[in-house]
């Protein structure tokens, strides 16, 4: 893999290539996109949470000047959409959540479109609703969906999507335990809060081919979904082209094709005009899908020495009214449940339940933060029961390089021990244990996440094409999606490094499914890993071709040539050299000349989970530990984070600047989830559709984050790198919860950890009442 020579660009803190464009306001977001004759779409949402649609009167909307189309469920063919095909673009028969789309308008401007929406009148007959996922499972609970996607009857609100993992013998493990703790935890709806609100622009050409200007994280899966939708519209076999604009944040909110996108397609089809659909900030809270809430029962045990004996987890996920890819987050929750620390016997059962709540989806970490909140909280509780310091307890059970976990993950490198020790050291753990200060507490949380792709789909592949022009400039055409994480910069660094040019010689072309080869999407912290590996392979091919051309020109065996910093040279005598551009022009401008391209499709050698949910999901596993010191105000319950140390096993830091950016951002996002963020739903209705009452943290709340990078160069990764996009926000909530417990002896089991909950806990502890 890495040769001994010094790396020139990989490992350097090169600023994001698109940063200046964004700062200067030059980047083109979906909101900036305009087309001649473009119409503006708007959606009529349900104002009932569960009801039969008796009638829709759109006559007044249709008559409003400037309105070009009004569609309801009655005007369109029934085309099931969504991960489980349990949704419709415009609802027919009944609505199941407040945000249900009942009608849509296309008009010459967005004000008229919205005015028209307000003129549409819907008559409903309310139905009994259910909002608590556990109640929704009881016999007699109102059925959200009477039938499944195939038309078969549904007997309950339980999704036909069971998650069951059994490793070893949990009952025997429990019986053999010296200490066992059991508890329950819950996490709630958290919004992605992308700064760029959602939107798309759909346009058909005269042959019925669709171009979708989009902000999706999964262009090729979207192409597939939209293609199927077109077939439903009678446009079978037509082309779908996805063109990506600059994306103002993803965080998992764009892993599904969304209802508003299908509505834009319907309106564009109906009017034969380009139709743009843009969300307001309020819609972003009301009609997007937040992080999947969970209720978790967990039991964990250890032997007399503190070695873990078993872990038993039972989880309920509030799916909401429809199903997104979020219902598959248990597949990633399994990662920490089975494989964080060495635990021989594991059982995990997850049930996704339909309710009349807002439907939910995946978010950064893909369920891992929810699962790790329970695991790392109970790990502290178990350490206490066993009378062992929580730091020591973790080190006692720490994962090892080379181990095979109960879920059959083949661990390659593992820097978890270094991470935990590094964090403890920087926090001053030993000193704190000797001299604890009043109302101050230390807390740890560890993490494991997929670090080398994740085969959650049939292919985990990434396609890349490289071409080099007459001047030695390299164009890299990638199927990957930049959502602000720095993909473009990483590709330029890796390409420059392996081909032998400079990063500024690289142009990255992306975001066009008609040009760029397939990629499964930006998720699972995989983009740098897969695109880096693709660039290494394609770059090596390109370089070989260049050297083969240069050989005869320089009368040197190509095997003895190398290319570095735009110069082809003999490895025996570096003085014997020829500039790259000269080689390329010479090759091009001769009779039957040649220009160079190379391509590579990289599909990592990882495995899809088998029927028992076992298999080596990822090529490598990312580890990390977060440690915080908090101070709790015992009279108000307020928490101040005094220190925040985040250690990450990243294999190799391809770009420490971008990497730390991910760590800082994840720290703030994770702390928001831990302390302040919560989409408040009352009987299914969002109460805080704005940034005043939905509390993401502000610049003034920024934490004193100190990253520690642990780099056990991993064979599987490009130059040894593992993914790091999501891990930072995984162990934050339990680290903070553990620190609060350490400070004041109150354990909070339900996120977010508000001052009210802490104060109530303190009062209860003191024996008082509220």
């Amino acid at each position: 893999m890495t040769r001994d020579r010094e790396l020139r660009y990989v490992g350097r803190p090169i600023p994001k290539m698109d940063a200046a464009q964004k700062v200067a306001g030059r980047a083109q977001y979906i909101q900036d996109l305009k087309k001649p004759g473009m119409l503006h779409g708007a959606i009529k949402y349900s104002d009932q949470v569960h009801a039969r649609i008796l009638s829709i009167d759109a006559s007044r909307a249709r008559k409003l000047p400037g309105v070009k189309a009004v569609l309801t469920g009655d005007d369109i063919p029934l085309i099931p959409i969504g991960f489980m095909k349990d949704n419709l673009a415009l609802k027919k028969g009944k609505v199941r959540q407040y945000r249900d789309e009942v009608a849509a308008v296309a008009a010459i401007n967005s004000e008229i479109a919205r005015e028209a929406v307000d003129l549409i009148q819907v008559e409903y007959e309310p139905l009994p609703a259910v909002f608590d996922p556990e109640e929704a499972l009881l016999p007699g609970a109102p059925l959200i969906h009477e039938t499944d996607a195939k038309g078969g009857p549904n007997k309950s609100n339980r999704l036909k999507l069971p998650w069951n993992l059994v490793c070893g013998d949990v009952d025997a493990g429990r019986a053999a335990s010296t200490h066992v703790v059991e508890d329950r935890f819950s996490t709630t709806w958290v919004a992605h809060c992308c700064l760029g609100a959602s939107g798309c622009l759909a346009e058909f050409d005269l042959s019925g081919n669709l171009t979708m200007h989009s902000i999706t994280q999964i262009p090729y899966l979207a192409q597939n979904d939209f293609g199927a939708f077109l077939a439903g519209l009678g446009l079978e076999g037509k082309n779908v082209r996805i063109l990506s604009t600059t994306i103002g944040g993803g965080f998992g909110s764009k892993l599904d094709t969304h209802v508003y996108e299908f509505i834009a397609i319907l309106l564009a089809h109906k009017t034969n005009k380009p139709v743009r659909m843009i969300f307001s900030r309020e819609e972003e809270f009301l009609a997007q899908a937040p992080r999947q809430p969970t209720r978790i029962r967990i039991a964990q045990g250890c032997d007399q020495y503190g070695r873990l004996t078993f872990r038993d987890v039972d989880m309920i996920l509030d799916n909401g009214a429809y199903t997104s890819w979020g219902a598959t987050t248990p597949s990633v929750m399994m990662v920490p449940i089975s494989s964080l620390y060495r635990v021989p016997n594991v059982r995990y059962k997850a049930t996704c339940v339909y309710t009349n709540n807002l439907y939910s989806q995946a978010m950064r970490g893909y369920g891992n933060p929810q699962a790790t909140f329970a695991i790392e909280s109970i790990t502290d509780q178990l350490a206490e029961a066993a009378g062992i310091d929580p730091l020591e307890f973790r080190l006692l059970n720490v994962n090892q390089p080379g181990e095979i976990t109960p879920q059959r993950f083949r661990v390659t490198t593992c820097g978890l021990r270094e991470c935990i020790e590094g964090v403890a050291d920087k926090l001053g753990w030993a000193e704190h244990r000797k001299n604890p200060k009043k109302a101050r507490g230390f807390g740890l949380g560890s993490l494991i996440h997929v670090g080398g792709g994740a085969r959650v789909y049939k292919s985990d592949g990434h396609g890349m094409i490289m071409r080099v022009d007459d001047f030695g400039k390299v164009t890299v055409i990638t199927g990957g999606v930049e959502i602000g994480q720095g993909l473009e910069t990483i590709i330029a660094q890796v390409t420059a490094e392996c081909v032998g040019v400079l990063p500024e010689d690289i142009t990255v072309v992306k975001g066009d499914t008609s040009i760029c080869p397939w990629d499964v999407g930006t998720h699972a912290s995989r983009a740098a890993f897969v695109s880096g590996n693709a660039a290494l392979a394609a770059g090596a091919k390109l370089k070989r071709k260049i050297l083969e051309l240069a050989g005869p020109m320089m009368r040197v065996d190509p095997k003895d040539l190398d290319l570095r910093d735009r110069m082809v040279f003999s490895t025996y005598d570096p003085e014997e050299a020829m500039p790259l551009d000269k080689v390329l022009r010479k090759a091009h401008f001769t009779a039957q000349g040649t220009v160079l391209t190379a391509e590579h499709f990289y599909d990592p050698p990882n495995e899809m989970l088998d029927k028992e949910f076992k298999g080596n999901l990822s090529c490598s596993y990312a580890y990390g530990a977060t440690g915080v010191e908090v101070e709790v105000d015992e009279e108000t319950g307020q928490v101040e984070i005094l220190k925040y140390i985040a250690a990450h096993d990243v294999g190799r830091a391809l770009n420490p600047l971008l990497l730390k950016g991910q760590v800082y951002g994840a720290a703030l996002m994770g702390t928001g989830m831990a302390l302040t963020e919560q989409l408040v739903l009352k009987d299914g209705k969002v109460q805080n559709d704005n940034f005043l009452d939905y509390k993401i943290l502000t610049a003034l709340d920024a934490l004193p984050v100190e990253p520690i990078l642990v780099e056990p160069v991993d064979e599987a990764g490009p130059y040894g790198a593992k993914g790091v996009g999501e891990p930072g926000c995984v162990p934050v909530a339990p680290a903070i919860a553990n620190a609060i417990y350490d400070a004041v002896g109150v354990r909070i089991r339900d996120l977010p950890i508000t001052p009210e909950k802490i104060l109530a806990g303190l009062k209860k502890k003191r024996g008082g009442t509220l």
Binding site: T636, L692, L697, L700, D701
Partner: protein, 293 residues
């Protein structure tokens, strides 16, 4: 989309004239940081916006006749940066620092904050605690009203539609005094108070005995309020933490805290109990550290 006329009078007289002429169809706008939110959220009820932005001579902070005079158009940022405010009305300086964000504070005005009359208006408790009077000017003349008679309900005041708030007059006590203000919020910027507490203490020369006290709260009732009975109980007493426990309790008794999405009543009450004590102690400490000259 709703459209409106935007008028920019160059003088107070012209502004008053426009208000008189257009009646309830006109609405004043200073920094616009409440008006524009209202506009976007609820649609504006007015057809005419009368901007006060050009009345720059209503933007001042000065001392005279044993009083601090603050022009209505003074921005929150002006308050925050004023050494006069820091010295004479430290509770108000505390408030300005924790309001909104620098960008908002650069345009938002004190009169806008007070006239908008939100229960959470952060300048209200410190101004109430300082014993402030407001000057309202109309074509008919001007009147001075104690701020504690100004608010009549959530977003309601005694101001008539033809009046402009031109000045705040804050008395400077002759003896030792100080103040402190606490905004209880979930984050450090861009947040509204869950509840807030301002304490103003005037002391005898022994720096222990309370000569006079004023305690005011935000989000503890439909309007910003004072709690006079608690204030009365401090009068003439030697201030100790133990005494202040009781004062916090008493002050809490005079509030009407309620449950809302932003916080629960029991918690708000709890914070009032704690923060009355802490802010009184902070004011006491400030008083002892440097008697306002």
């Amino acid at each position: 989309m709703k459209t409106f006329q935007y008028l920019r009078p160059a003088s107070l007289a012209e502004a008053l004239d426009l208000l008189a002429r257009h009646g309830p169809a006109a609405r004043l706008v200073a920094g616009g940081t409440d008006v524009m939110v209202d506009f976007k959220k609820n649609g504006l009820e007015a057809d005419i916006l009368v901007s006060l932005r050009r009345l720059t001579d209503l933007r001042y902070i000065r001392e005279g006749n044993g009083q601090v005079h603050i022009g209505g158009l003074t921005t929150l940022r002006d308050l925050e940066r004023s050494s006069l405010v820091a010295r004479r009305i430290p509770g108000l300086a505390d408030a300005a620092r924790v309001m909104a964000s620098v960008q908002i504070r650069n345009v938002a005005t004190v009169a806008g904050n007070i006239c908008n009359a939100a229960p959470s208006a952060d300048t209200a408790p410190p101004l109430l605690a300082a014993g402030t009077q407001v000057r309202l000017v109309s074509p008919a003349g001007s009147r001075d009203i104690p701020l504690d008679q100004f608010f009549t309900g959530p977003r309601k005041t005694i101001r008539r539609p033809d009046e402009i708030l031109t000045e705040f007059v804050v008395p400077i006590p002759s003896g030792p005094y100080s103040q402190a203000f606490w905004k209880h919020a979930r984050r450090k910027a861009m947040d509204l108070a869950m509840v807030s507490v301002a304490v103003h203490l005037e002391l005898e020369d022994d720096l222990v005995t309370c000569r006079q006290a004023r305690i005011a709260h935000g989000v503890a009732a439909p309007t910003p309020i004072r709690t006079p009975e608690a204030e009365e109980r401090l009068k003439g007493k030697k201030i100790t933490p133990e005494l202040l426990e009781g004062i916090g309790e008493a002050s809490c008794e005079e509030t009407l805290c309620r449950d809302s999405i932003r916080g629960q009543a029991w918690y708000r009450e709890e914070i009032i109990r704690v923060m009355v004590r802490r802010m009184a102690l902070r004011a006491l400490e400030r008083c002892r550290m440097g008697r306002p000259a």
